[in-house]
Amino acid sequence: MRRPETTSIFSNIDWITVLTWLVMLILGWCNVYSAVYDEDHPAILDFSQKYGKQLIWIGTGILIAFLLLIIDAEFHPTFAWIIYGVSMVSLVAVMFFGREVAGSKSWFRFGDFGIQPAEFAKFATCLALAKYLSDINIKMSETKPRLISFAIVIFPTLLIILEKETGCAIVLLVLILVLYREGLPGSLLLLAMGMAFLFFASLVYPSMTLVIICGSLALLVIIFTRKRLRTFINVLTAFLVVVCIIFSAKMVFEHFPAHQKKRIGVYLGIESGKKDKEWNENESIIAIGSGGFAGKGFLQGTQTKYDFVPAQETDFIFCTVGEEWGWLGSTFIVGLFAFLLIRIIFLAERQRSAFSRIYGYGVASILFFHVLVNIGMTVRLIPVIGIPLPFFSYGGSSLWGFTILLFIFIKLDSQRLMILR
């Protein structure tokens, strides 16, 4: 093992990523300020207001980032399983000792501040997955490692679903992208996505139509891959699973939490959202649309200011971006995220150790999923799933969680010349 010739812990750090992160934090805070702006409390440091609190979160976030840069990169692979274990224990503990907020028991409360263990499960799961897959004996072509890595991901997912934070839980499923990068066949990835799609399709279309369509597809595959018994068995299994999904979808959907059901129902057009005064799915797109090409300007948004948009400073912070900064601002933010994601993938690919690379892909996947879903739901391309926009949405847990997620990787990258086990 060769230590790089360095005197400072900050050498070899990818400043481009750090700078992007800082820009996002600043822009995010500006938008939170604008979204909850109240003429009674104009002071930036008013800690009774959310933008005041967000400043605290940002400050402590920077501190955490700094601490992570000090800690040696060896720490992470060494303690990966322990961190994962602690995270799982906290997910269970919160169900017993947590404070109930809006029907879900997923928060630890400390006075005015709250901590949501689910946010921290993300990097813990990434670490565990990286640790497991970086083992030299693991081959993604085998069934056993596939099942184990699947288990590593699905365990926290189920725990978080039990906390009734469905949106937060399905985020972890995106780690299938990491598995794909590490050798999971693309056909399985497509199959997984296809089944997710099928689930929602069966809520809208008649079951028999879908069965016939899927059956003919399966038949085509079998015909074109003649003779091979293995493929035949695989396709048949897949088809049976598909049939199960189609017929159970409505039943499973019935057991979704009411608000999720409503939102998805409205999106799919199987439920009318018009009479619901609590939630108007149009409000977010009206706010964004009203921004026009160049936006209304800082603090000039009317839609987000008057609570027309629900959860405007958390899950719907992108509405404020859209309204006040227009298409130019929105596109800039979308571009900024694309840049960050591609940068992380670029960094991940240059790692010498598999652990760092896998972890890097984990970071990219999770951030990607958040951006995809969050912006997608505000512009009504995706049903409303309440997950935050990384570094923009108000909230300490998510800000800390994303910062830790990112900075572990930045630290790993700074020691990329080392082989970590």
Partner: protein
């Protein structure tokens, strides 16, 4: 290089593709599609409603019956209500902190909204308003909205005038004009002429900046609409007569209707017991309404003049006399015997002692039951009819032409049709073909299954006064400065009995008052009142006292029906009350203060209450 690393291009490709899709979607939503911009504009503007004052209501002589008073509603936009000194605030309003919290919660939650104004305190008193107004600037999010509510200076005619109240949900869904919290006429004139009285709400569109401070009107008020005040109505009611009648009916249960036969204008319509219309105004409305509902015997909210079915008693003999003449089975010189009752059916229906036989004129004056039993049966049992049923149908058709047993379409809501049984009704009751003219002979003297409202009785008198036709009784004289009365009110509705047959009946009615059963109605020698007493048997206790009349005999100006429940003979109570009202209307003074005093002070209400309770 690990071939798997090629997969990064797939992942990067997906990221770029999604970014591109989102950018395009944003471009479409923000730049190309105007739909969302318009919607947003609507929300950044505040739509304020201006409530117009409701139109006044006058009586026929220009006296004000209904005026407005200002009410102050305290409104709140919960989202803006911050840093309220609740101690001071609650003391000003005279409410408790708990009540403050409760009201605030109501204002915040559906169907209200934290960002829209809702009523916090309804109709504050002027004192509360004055005290609050000085300090309201301290209570952000609160403001006062003025509204007009009704006031009734004379406290009369509650049933005619009706009342207003908040619209219900069914109405707001049916009619887009109304929104939650608006007032609407619920009964009486307020209901019928709601569209004239309410005026038109105005809307002011105000732009609000990001601090929610109004920044002036939108586009210089180009899209604002001015509130149009409601139009005043002149009703046909004579307030003096209405008030006088209500006084006479004090401590009595019953109904009075008086109509100007030359126009069909309703002069008064009294339902007793009534109530002070001011009770159904303002904050106390619902509790007062509840109290009025509790009187289940007097039923003050029930408009007897239009809705109560009474057997008309002997007054109905007039119609039978007219129909029989028209059918040419009765002539002025026709005489029938009377043996203290109808001899053909063994003295039933019974009659009082008088000379016998009588001719038509005398029979009317003496109100002979036997005479009209002969008459009634002679109509039904004519040889030209194949059956009793056919005869009955013809008879019923005549009766209906007098505006009974069907709606006469007056402009007062709640008018009922009355009851003149159909042949089918008797078929059901007795069996098909199992009834004859003798079975239903009580119709001859206005008993049996007949049910007629006081308004319909007065309307019969209009036909008599006009010798053959009536105008639809109505309450609207004019709207605003113009005369805007529906044409149908000036059309003559002819009965099926020709004019020439009325004269003898009118003469008979004149004799009722000059020398017959209704002598007490006469107040001077120059005014000839034509009337008919009735003593209507009913299953609820003592007979109802009934009197119908019109006066003067030539060029009649008033047709009236008085009904006092369980009071006894028609001549005893209904007749003098009608007479006093006629005198008051025609001469504006009363020459018989003794009679007036006796009528006003008589307490007949206990007879109804006691009997009704026994009956139960």
């Amino acid at each position: 290089m690990n071939p798997l690393s090629e997969r990064k291009y797939v992942i990067i490709g997906v990221i770029l593709l999604i970014s591109l899709i989102y950018t395009c979607r944003l471009f479409f939503v923000q730049v190309i599609d105007d739909k969302y911009k318009l919607d947003a504009k609507n929300q950044a503007l505040r739509y304020l409603t201006d409530y117009p004052p409701r139109g006044y209501i006058y009586d026929r002589n220009g006296k004000l019956l209904v005026i407005n008073q200002i009410a102050y509603d305290l409104m709140v936009i919960p989202k803006q209500a911050k840093n309220i000194d609740t101690t001071v605030f609650c003391r000003l309003l005279g409410i408790t902190k708990e009540s403050y919290i409760r009201k605030m919660r109501i204002a915040k939650n559906a169907p209200n909204s934290p960002i829209k104004p809702s009523i916090f305190e309804k109709q504050m008193t002027a004192e509360t308003y004055a005290a609050l107004q000085e300090k309201i600037y301290k209570f952000k999010g609160f403001f006062v909205q003025t509204r007009t509510i009704r006031k009734y200076p004379d406290k009369i005619a509650p049933h005619l005038l009706g009342y207003i109240g908040e619209v219900d949900k069914a109405m707001t869904e049916k009619n887009p004009y109304y929104h939650e919290g608006d007032y609407i006429g619920i009964s009486g004139i307020e209901k019928t002429y709601e569209e004239y009285l309410r005026g038109k709400k105005g809307t002011r569109i105000v732009m609000v900046d990001v601090h929610n401070v109004p920044k002036g009107s939108f586009q210089n008020g180009k899209y604002d609409t001015l509130a149009v005040p409601g139009e005043f109505l002149t009703s046909t009611i004579d307030a003096d007569i209405q008030e006088y009648g209500e006084k006479l009916m004090n401590m009595k249960v019953g109904g009075i209707a008086a109509i100007d036969p030359q126009t069909g204008e309703i002069l008064c319509a009294i339902s007793s017991p009534g109530y002070d219309p001011n009770l159904l105004v303002g904050r106390e409305r619902s509790s007062n309404y509840g109290k009025l509902l509790l009187d289940t015997v007097g039923v003050p909210l029930y408009n007897r003049a239009l809705m109560a079915y009474y057997p008309p008693g002997s007054t109905f003999k007039l119609i039978n006399g007219l129909v029989a003449q028209q059918e040419k089975v009765l002539f002025p010189e026709t005489r029938y015997p009377c043996a203290r009752g109808y001899p053909v059916m063994g003295g039933h229906p019974g009659c009082h002692a008088h000379a016998s036989p009588l001719d038509l004129l005398q029979a009317v004056a003496q109100s002979c039951n036997s005479y009209f039993s002969y008459t009634f049966r002679s109509i039904i049992d004519q040889k030209k009819f194949n059956s009793c049923e056919e005869g009955y149908r013809v008879w019923r058709n005549y009766v209906l032409s007098f505006g009974i047993g069907r709606k006469i379409n007056t402009d007062l809501p709640g008018e009922l049709r009355g009851m003149v049984p159909t042949p089918e009704y008797y078929d059901k009751y007795f069996g098909k073909g199992a009834w004859k003219s003798s079975t239903i002979v009580s119709l001859a003297i206005g008993q049996g299954e007949l049910g007629i409202t006081p308004l319909q009785m007065a309307n019969i008198m209009c036909s008599a006064a006009n010798r053959g036709y009536y105008y639809v009784p109505h309450i609207l004289k004019s709207v605003g400065e113009k005369k805007l009365v529906p044409k149908s009110y000036s059309e003559k509705n002819y009965t099926l009995v020709e004019k020439k047959y009325f004269e003898i009946m009118v003469d008979g009615m004149e004799q009722v008052v000059s020398m017959g059963t209704g002598r007490i109605a006469k107040y001077d020698d120059t005014t000839h009142i034509c009337g008919k007493t009735g003593t209507a048997q009913n299953p609820h206790g003592d007979n109802h006292s009934v009197f119908v009349a019109f006066a003067p005999k030539d060029h009649p100006r008033i047709a009236i029906a008085v009904l006092v429940e369980n009071a006894g003979y028609g001549a005893e109570w209904a007749c003098p009350i009608a007479s006093l009202l006629i005198e008051k209307y025609l001469t504006r003074k009363i020459t018989r203060p003794e009679l007036e005093k006796r009528m006003m002070e008589a307490d007949l209400v206990h007879k109804v209450y006691v009997k009704k309770k026994e009956h139960r």
